[in-house]
Symmetry: none
Subunit: 405 residues, 2 copies
């Protein structure tokens, strides 16, 4: 029996409420450039400190030591899906990220408008970064292509020069083992689509016809007289949070990508205001309707990627200030962590283990008095992989039976 | 190469002695209901404290974070058998638990006497909880059925209304993919046995005949005029501790279940007095005869499951008081831990990591000065899965060679 089978065989339902509060990229490292403290160590966080004293803490490896995850693996791991075995294709992430509800068997592709010269050579892969408004207009033009060989073509504009194309087959099986048509460098022609198996080859032919018809429609729209496709991917077949854990789940997240991942896992997307107070209040007003709440705070990651220590500290302090909204409406189990670290000194995602706090009636309490990376080294949870967090939260919520006699 | 293969390729024998002292369910959590300390923190344990100062400590996950094990998985993990892949069926546990020596290919079932009405409907699944004496008498009646279709029928009374039936085939292969005959609710008829493959179907037919003949024998013994079968299981094919580790092993355990598990792993069962001093003295008097001693203390788990903090503290203090008996006859390696946690505040097994102490010439020594859950968070062993403990004890006993050149 593997871990997933154990969870499946021991899972049960009850009335408990669980919150997983994800401070995106919150983990950091001490750097002489930034006061030699991590943002969590430097920030003034009286509410988090008090909570840490009444909780158990530890650190999460998003994947395994040394592996830096993208947002996809970082998040699916937190929800108990093995990040090493589950890849959500970029086309799919892009599509769900802009709020598109993919159906089973849909294939999605990320598309860029681009500039092509009279010899069919790409001279600008981003069409001079045309504004969103122009992309919307061009997408409306492309939308006159509604169907090719029985495959419905659905076009959704994104930000800037980006858009998404979804291929939805009515009856024929379509596959997504298809190369990018983007040559990934300027000075080359777009690549024709090739499929690696018959259902993929069928769709590759549709894509090549779509490109031909589409280019004809926008041939006079210089600098956006062509488009390139990348990350052609099928919607993954995933068990939902309901199927996996018997949980009615809700996501309170502002950013499209996190809403997209949550929707792929079957979570209900709740309206998410921009402020942290707003996110927490959305939980309070929906508390009775769901078992599990994924609350996503983006500011910590953005600050880390910008190398903006002050802004990361400030975001953490805002979370701390708003925390009583949750604490006055306590769930049975509250977990606070991140999906990965984004150290200010690195201006990028990193592999460093993420601080984790679990508070609940049966969480226990260790000797750690603060919620930060180095304090969490000494916690009662030790270091473990994110993919085991959900099981631990379910255990704390008394939603897992004993395994074996 | 997997872990087991590495152990197998590096194992060697020497004259070292190893003790694994298991305080069943010793792990706990701090709770405001119980002085905000764990029993290990609260107990007065001068000997354990002194030992901790000279030892290395850490914490064990019985299975994986969040998974609460039964006694079976909890113990087999400690002996280095993967608790996720080794399931010991309930019938087998029950049989070995009452001291029955199962042979390979034996199939065992847990049985209950029950009450059936004239329409063949079960009206009491426990026959009014008849006393053990009556069960012994009824089992003697059933024992007149000695063999069906070449399968020997062996009946052993247990406590109260319970007994065990073992099916031993002389030549035909018998299987145990067979449903429970217990309908699990009153107001229904017993279920006929069905087998999922031919050897199981052969035994299912034997079982159905046994039930028919047995019911006829006790039809006038109201309220115990029927019996129900559950947990029909074959003896698992396990390498013994001798085969796995070249260890001559002995178990010093009072309770049938732990004696049963030890006997399945090929350990010699030593007489086990009721007192903790008695357990430890049994080790001393047998020290020369075995390499490995599994000493099992049940009181800590019982107190945890009863929510009896004082009794758990008292049991720990008794262990501490008796500890010099072991320390004056020191083995080369002494490990003290549990098979799982049983927090008083939960009155049940739990997933919380278990404190672990290893003392020996090569164990090393960390800064931890006490043997309790939170002190062990900072130990030199970190957190790891129980299934790696045996390898670590063998290493400490210099019974493992270097792996690779």
């Amino acid at each position: 029996m593997n871990y997933e089978q154990i969870i499946k065989s021991t899972i049960k339902s009850n009335n408990s409420k669980i919150i997983l509060l994800v401070l995106d990229g919150v983990g950091d490292i001490r750097s002489p450039k930034f006061k030699d403290k991590t943002p969590l160590e430097y920030a003034h966080t009286p509410n988090l400190d008090k909570l840490a004293k009444e909780s158990v803490v530890g650190r999460l490896h998003p994947v395994l030591p040394g592996i830096t995850p993208g947002s996809g693996p970082g998040h699916v791991g937190l929800f108990g899906y093995d990040p090493m075995n589950l890849t959500i294709g970029r086309g799919v992430l892009e599509a769900v990220g802009i709020g598109f509800q993919l159906k089973s068997y849909d294939v999605a592709a990320r598309c860029n408008f681009a500039t092509m010269n009279e010899n069919g050579i790409i001279t600008d892969r981003r069409a001079g970064r045309i504004p969103t408004e122009l992309t919307i207009e061009l997408c409306n033009t492309l939308k006159s292509i509604k169907e090719i060989d029985g495959v419905e073509i659905i076009i959704k504009p994104g930000k800037g020069h980006r858009f998404v194309t979804v291929f939805r087959s009515k009856d024929k099986e379509i596959g997504s083992y298809i190369n990018d048509t983007d040559p990934l460098t300027e000075g080359k022609a777009p690549l024709p689509a090739h499929g690696k198996n018959p259902p993929s080859q069928f769709l590759a032919n549709v894509i090549n016809k779509f490109i031909k018809e589409g280019y004809a429609l926008i041939k006079d729209k210089h600098p956006a007289n062509a488009f390139l496709m990348r990350g052609i991917a099928s919607k993954p077949k995933l068990p939902t949070m309901r199927e996996k854990y018997l949980l009615e789940s809700a996501a309170i997240a502002t950013y499209p990508m996190y809403r997209g991942i949550a929707s792929l896992l079957g979570m209900t997307l709740l309206p998410a205001p921009d402020s942290i107070e707003g996110l927490f209040e959305t939980y309070v007003s929906n508390k009775q309707k769901y078992d599990f709440f994924f609350i996503h705070v983006k500011g910590t990651d953005q600050a880390g990627e910008d190398g903006d220590f002050e802004s990361k500290v400030s975001c953490i302090e805002k979370v701390d200030k708003a925390l009583p909204i949750i604490l006055e409406n306590k769930p049975d189990v509250l977990a606070i962590t991140g999906d990965h670290s984004s150290p200010c000194a690195m201006r990028s995602h990193s592999w460093h283990p993420i601080p984790l706090l679990i508070h609940g009636q049966f969480s226990g309490r260790d000797d750690v008095k603060f919620f930060n990376e180095n304090a969490c080294n000494n916690g009662g949870l030790g270091f473990f992989e994110s993919k085991y967090l959900m099981g631990l939260l379910l255990a704390n919520a008394k939603r897992l039976d004993k395994f074996g006699a």
